[in-house]
């Protein structure tokens, strides 16, 4: 706890400055106070938690699941076949330099206002970190270890399950950590483009109501969601990478 003492104090100072500043400016529909946001959060808790949170959550979870499955499969495939690697890897790297999110509005045209247009946006921005990190992980397999296992008579399958997968795991988790935070952003942006529920949708809707506290309240929940997901991934990571010394 002591480790984060300074941070906590800084947060308190920043919040206090915000509170005071916002009260002085006194433009609540543009600049809400932190206490105003909290009050709003409390007022709207039922709607936010039981209507909008589930909507966003399902986008995030479905999107992440699809990304993980597709990403890992593609990574394994690339690792398995040099031809596939040569064909796909440069594309995947290049596609990260492309603002794929900018075509998100088109998905609304394709998939309508169903959950899928938002899921696709989420997949689009989480797929690449997962694929790239998993593949880099598979590729990071120590060549000497592989040769050593071969000298013990290991089959391709042995190498894959006993060497490639454990080697890739830490990288996979790094990718997943990035993807998890991206997924929240993807869902929120997806919801801006057309939705009937969801925290991102609700936040933007509150803009149209000139309710700045209402804009921030769902974002507080989104942030909590982001941090929660991150912690969950770190928990899984710790469990399955017990052998790693914490630096």
């Amino acid at each position: 706890m002591k480790k984060y003492g300074a941070s906590v104090i800084l947060v308190v100072i920043l919040l206090a400055a915000w509170e005071i500043g916002a009260r002085i400016v006194n433009y609540p529909f543009i600049l809400p106070t932190p206490t105003g946001i909290l009050t709003k959060l409390w007022d709207l808790r039922m709607d936010l938690l039981f209507k909008h949170l589930p909507a966003t959550l399902s986008i995030v979870v479905i999107g992440l699941l699809i990304s993980v499955v597709l990403g890992v499969l593609l990574a394994v495939w690339m690792n398995w076949s040099p031809l596939i690697e040569r064909a796909f890897y440069p594309l995947i790297i290049a596609s990260q330099m492309i603002p794929t999110i900018a075509i998100a509005p088109v998905f609304v045209l394709w998939f309508g206002y169903s959950i899928w247009s938002k899921v696709i946006v989420t997949v689009l921005i989480t797929f690449f970190p997962i694929t790239v990190s998993t593949f880099d992980g598979l590729r990071s397999t120590n060549k000497e270890l592989k040769e050593l296992m071969l000298t013990m008579g290991a089959t391709k399958k042995d190498i894959f399950f006993k060497l490639n997968i454990p080697s890739a795991l830490p990288h996979f988790y790094s990718g997943l950590k990035v993807a998890v935070t991206f997924s929240i952003i993807g869902a929120a942006i997806g919801e801006w483009l057309g939705a009937q529920a969801g925290l991102g949708y609700f936040s933007r809707r509150m803009m149209t109501q000139f309710d700045a506290a209402g804009v921030f309240a769902p974002i507080v929940i989104l942030s909590a969601l982001g941090i929660l997901f991150f912690i969950i991934v770190v928990g899984f990571e710790k469990r399955s990478l017990k052998w790693r010394k914490t630096e």
Binding site: Y27, P28, F29, I30, V108, L109, G112, Y113, L193, G194, A195, Q196, Y201, R204, R205, M207, T208, Q209, F210, D211
Partner: protein
């Protein structure tokens, strides 16, 4: 292209930004006419026209003082003022009765509000549209809760013809509807006032309270010039349409000449007032507030006098 930015004399001119309710179209002819004919400049103004990226920006930014004037819708102004104390007021009524329609494609089989039960309706995310629609369905004997509403931002037509929604509310009889017709789509248009919604000013010009306090003279000057622009438009609709077409944002929002001609024909009578262009009545505001209160869109009773400045009449 940027005639409003002619260097040199613009130095002494007072800068005014006006954010339209949407992309330039026939309803904005009077502004472009005033610009082109130099009425603004004569009043000492350098007017800059902006288009909103989000449906509610013209009100938001006017309230925040980021634009001098914004074009918006009367009931929404009343609600913003009443519910969130958003410091905006209307300074002029531009279109004096509703243009707003519920529009569905003919082959959808929708003919009246009750048919919307179980259907998806797209709208630009304003709470008013929600209430109007509910009111319409209800007065037609349907269950408003069975209608699914989707915020489609500005994408009213594209969501309709790509069949992502079954109907839209917020489409204008003078714009979206003729456009759809021109593209070969047959439509059903339902007028809200046929189903229990009172008449209102479709388009008003709003400004922030602070802007008003600081720059009311500027705004009055703007209005004088705008009125001249309106009068010019009324007298020379063809010419002013041409001015508009010359000023259109071609790459972003190309206008169809015949559509805009039709549109202006519909609009001109709706903009006319014997008390002067832009004049507003307390009764109109009061009846809207009453209706909004009745339908639960307004929680507390607001002060109607704060909502508008009747500068059109005071001329």
């Amino acid at each position: 292209q940027d005639k409003e930015n002619k260097a040199g004399d613009s130095k002494k001119l007072k800068d005014v930004t006006i954010m339209l309710d949407w992309y330039p179209n026939a309803v904005h002819s009077f502004i472009y006419a005033a610009q082109e004919k130099g009425y603004f400049k004569k009043e000492g103004l350098n007017v800059k026209v902006q288009f909103p990226a989000n449906p509610t920006d013209s009100l938001n930014l006017a309230a925040a003082g980021k634009v001098t004037l914004g074009l918006y819708y009367q009931p929404d102004v009343a609600m913003a003022r009443a519910n969130e104390d958003v410091p905006v007021k209307s300074v002029g009524a531009i279109v004096r009765s509703p243009l707003n329609r519920v529009v569905a494609l003919k082959d959808s089989g929708i003919t009246r509000p009750k048919d919307l039960e179980g259907k998806v309706v797209g709208y630009s995310g304003t709470p008013l549209s929600e209430s109007v629609l509910k009111k319409m369905v209800k007065s037609d004997g349907g269950d408003p809760n069975k209608v699914k509403l989707v915020d489609v931002g500005f994408e009213l037509n594209s969501s309709l013809i790509s069949k992502k929604v079954d109907a839209v509310i917020g489409a204008y009889i003078n714009h979206e509807v003729p456009l759809l017709h021109k593209k070969g789509y047959k439509t059903v248009d339902i007028d809200p006032s046929d189903y229990g919604v009172p008449s209102y000013y479709e388009l008003v010009a709003v400004t922030g309270d602070q802007t008003w306090a600081k720059d009311s003279d500027t705004i009055k000057a703007f209005w004088r010039a705008a009125t001249k622009g309106y009068e010019y438009t009324e007298k020379h609709p063809k010419d002013s349409l041409q001015i508009l077409l010359d000023n259109q944002d071609k790459s972003n929002f190309p206008l169809e000449k015949d559509v805009e001609t039709k549109s202006l024909n519909i609009l001109l009578p709706k903009m006319k007032s014997e008390h002067g262009f832009g004049s507003q009545t307390k009764e109109s505001w009061q009846s809207n507030v009453d209706w909004l209160k009745e339908s639960g869109l307004i929680k507390k009773k607001p002060n109607v006098d704060e909502m508008f400045e009747n500068i059109g009449e005071s001329k």
